[in-house]
Structure formats: C-alpha cells, structure tokens
Symmetry: C2
DNA sequence: GGACGTCATTCATCCAATCATTTAATGATT
DNA sequence: AATCATTAAATGATTGGATGAATGACGTCC
C-alpha cells in the first residue's frame, strides 16, 4: 500500500537491521565501500549516504583507511524511532520492558508539568485527542483508536512545554504502538481505559498536578496488566 | 588541538546551526541542491550526505519536485547531541531549564534502578569514575574533573541496564557539560559535591534504592543552586 | 462548469568514473 | 631499538550524466 521504498531507505533499513541483529561484532569493520555497495546492489554514493544516516544515529563510525566500524550498542541512539523499530523485530520483550520502565518514570512527571503549565492550546490538543478516542471507540471496528491514543500521549508530553520531554515521548511512540494495539484488541480494555484518559484531561484542566500524575500512573499500570495477560507473553516465572 | 573538521562535518554543522537559528521557516524549502551546494562551496554529493544526516535527526524532509523542507521543531530529535549543541548557542537559558527538569525526573529514578539491579561490572565503572573525580579534584588545576563527572553520570544511568535510559543520559550530557564547568569553576563546589557522589556509590553498592534516589536528588539540587548563583544568570524576578 | 486524464517541467535520485586526502602498515636509517 | 620516510589502502570529495517521481498546466469528456 505505502509507496515503494526508495533505494536510500532500503539500504538504511537493511544495514540498520543487520547491525541490530548482530551481523557484525561491535568494533568489527564492515566490508569496504566498493564491495559492500556491489554486494547490496547499489552505487557507492547511495551506500555512503545510507552510512551517513547510520552515523547520525550513533551506530557507525567511519574513518579513512580504517574503514566503517560498528559502534558498541551503548553508543547507539536507542531513542531514535528507526533504531527502536529495528530492535522491535529482535528482542521485543526486552524492549517492551525498557519502554514500560521509561513510561513509569517519565509520564507521571510529564503529566504533573502539564497540569502546572498547560496553556489553552495544549489543553485543546489534549481534549481533541480524547474526543477522537471516544468517537473511534464508539465506531464499530475501532478504526483510528490507536492513532488517537498516540496523539493523546503526544499531546500530554508536549503540554509541559519541555521540548526534551516532547522528543522523548515521540521517540517511544513507535514502541508504544505495539502495546496500544494489544490493548485495543483486548475486549473491554478500550472502554475501561477511556475514564482514565478523561481523568487526566480533567486534572490538567483543573491545574491539579498530583491528580494528573496519579491518573497517568493508574493508566500505565492498567496497560501493563493488559500486556502481561496478552497471549504470547511468558508468565513471569523468574 | 582538534584536527580540521572534514567537509561533511562542516556542512552538517553549518546547515544544522542555520536551521536551529531559524534561517528558514518551518515548512519553507531550502534552495535547490545545485544552488545551495555552490553557495556553500561544496559538491552536490557532499551536500546530499549532509542533508541525509539532518534527515536522520528529524530536522529535514526531502522529496522530489518539492525540494528539501525544514520540519517543525516539534519533530526534531531534541535529544540528539548535535541538535542540543546547536541549540546551546541560541536560547541557552531555555535549554538549561529543560535539561534541569529532565534531570530531576530521570536521574533519581535511574539511581533507584541502579541500586536494584547493578551488576559488579556496573558498580566498578561507577567506582572508577568516582576515583577519577577524586584524583582530579586533588590535582591542582582540576584537569579532567568535568570528564570524570560526566563519566560518573553515564555509569549511573547505564547501571540500571535500561538502554533507553542510557541513551537519554548520553543525550543530555552535552547540555550537562556546561553546568559541570560552572560547578568546577565555583570555589569549594568540587569539594562539596564529592561526598554526594560517594553517597550515591555507597547506596548502589548496598542495593538501597531509596538512599540512591535521595542522594542523587540532593546532588541535583545543589548543582542547580550553583548554577543559579553563577554570574550571567538573571535572578528569578518572574 | 466540474471531474478526469495527459503531458511537460522541475526537481531529487541514483549511477559511474575520477582525483584528492587521510592513515596504517611497511621499510629504511640512524 | 627507536625514529623517520615511503607506500598502499581505504575513505573523502568532485564532476557529469541518466533516471524517476511529484507537481502544475492543459485539454478533453461528461
């Protein structure tokens, strides 16, 4: 459906996925540009542009004569949407754990800031997202519910006016989408989550930071329980 | 001294700084590749590679016929080290405020996780960083103290084992460096901060999450007061 | 008059070939 | 054995051209 991926995107995806999958050890050099380009089937220029994209994400380091080497995973920008997507296909469970932890840390605090400082524009974006969620929930098939949920999430983190928090929210959205899909597919979960979202909007509108934080926390915990009960999740026997 | 910057780095810095400084309105198109390349004084290939780097940071969007357009700031990856550096030269006060807020949210929670889950390797990295801070503090001139402080900060956020938190910490390090420099230049601040750092290491080694969190919080608040008292900071009259 | 298809234009896209620069590995010199 | 010049191998950068995609204008059909 989506248009054909351009060559550049194809090469970036190919290399990024290979790196995440551990095709090359950290510190190990990739094949030289000429051979790697012919192996992939693109020109050297296209390969170099793709490599530059991965350098910008902190995954590669390239130097004359030495070649292109994979940087250790600690150096990767794990908050980059592409990196998150590549990691999703691999160790999805670990990513879900990390994402959930980050949510518990950041979102209640972000809700607190939003309740303290949200201006009318931010409040309206929040209410619009909530309305979209409600209409999508009423609509049979729930088309658009996940998108509305993400928009709500985004509006909440933007409402505090802290751009770093905004970027952080946008980063984890890719990882969040998966959990939202699970919640939407679980019967009754959508109806159960709507009151929680309404409570958040109420708290932000009333400029009640404590209420906003607790409402978000309750929502996150409910979502985590949905995920834990979803099929394909190993019960925590450790 | 650092070597001469390569053409690629030069162009990325030039364009990134220009975008952050608002040389082009969000949504406005940049000059076409040919003219922009000749204007900067590089070839199309070098310009294209630089543009790809900025696309990877979420600042540009390029399409045939439409051209290269600046994306709205909400879409930028504000957690990218380069983006933070470019923003630093402009509205440094706002960035300092956002960074400080993020620290207060993330670092106590990260310290809590570190105390819960730090393995011996992480603990050793933490202690090594502390030792480096102590030796740098004893050394006249304090050379290397800022670097050691950043290494400590990094080790703490890595110790929790959450890669997203690790990337988050690495992201704000660039912004943090400034405040560390201020603290180091303030007489007596270095000696005052060392016990706080030792308390963090003790709490992590003792697997005491609450103590770790409070120790970090105390350190952050002390640093904020140092910044507030530093010259060039407008007193909070609002 | 409005909707739909066609076409030309304008860019980015991708490729191929070439030269310059950096740098490690090697060899020569003392 | 340590230092310095040489060399070769890889990236860095440039040029020119061919291709493809998106847009706006134009014309046709209902």
């Amino acid at each position: 459906m989506g248009h054909f991926p351009t060559t550049h995107q194809r090469v970036v995806d190919l290399l990024g996925q290979r790196i995440v999958d551990g095709a090359w050890e950290p510190g190990a050099p990739l094949p030289v540009e000429d051979t790697l380009a012919t192996e992939i089937g693109v020109s050297r220029g296209a390969l170099r542009e793709a490599v530059k994209s991965l350098v910008a994400k902190g995954m590669l380091h390239v130097r004359p004569r030495t070649g292109t080497r994979v940087l250790p995973p600690e150096h990767w920008n794990h908050l980059d949407p592409d990196v998150l997507r590549w990691k999703q296909t691999g160790d999805a469970a670990a990513l879900l754990r990390d994402t959930s932890e980050l949510r518990r840390i950041v979102e209640p605090a972000a809700a607190r800031l939003a309740a303290e400082r949200a201006d009318p524009g931010h409040v309206r974006a929040l209410r619009d997202a909530l309305t979209a969620m409600e209409t999508a929930a009423a609509h049979p098939g729930r088309s658009g519910y996940v998108e509305a949920d993400i928009a709500f999430h985004r509006a909440l983190l933007d409402a505090g006016g802290n751009r770093l928090l905004g970027s952080l929210g946008r980063a984890v959205e890719i990882a969040l989408e998966h959990s939202f899909v699970i919640s939407t597919q679980t019967p009754g979960a959508v109806e159960a989550s709507l009151p929680g979202h309404r409570a958040i909007v109420r708290a932000v509108e009333a400029h009640d930071p404590a209420a906003a934080a607790t409402a978000v926390q309750a929502l996150i915990e409910a979502a985590e329980q949905e995920i834990a009960r979803s099929p394909g999740m190993p019960s925590d026997t450790a």
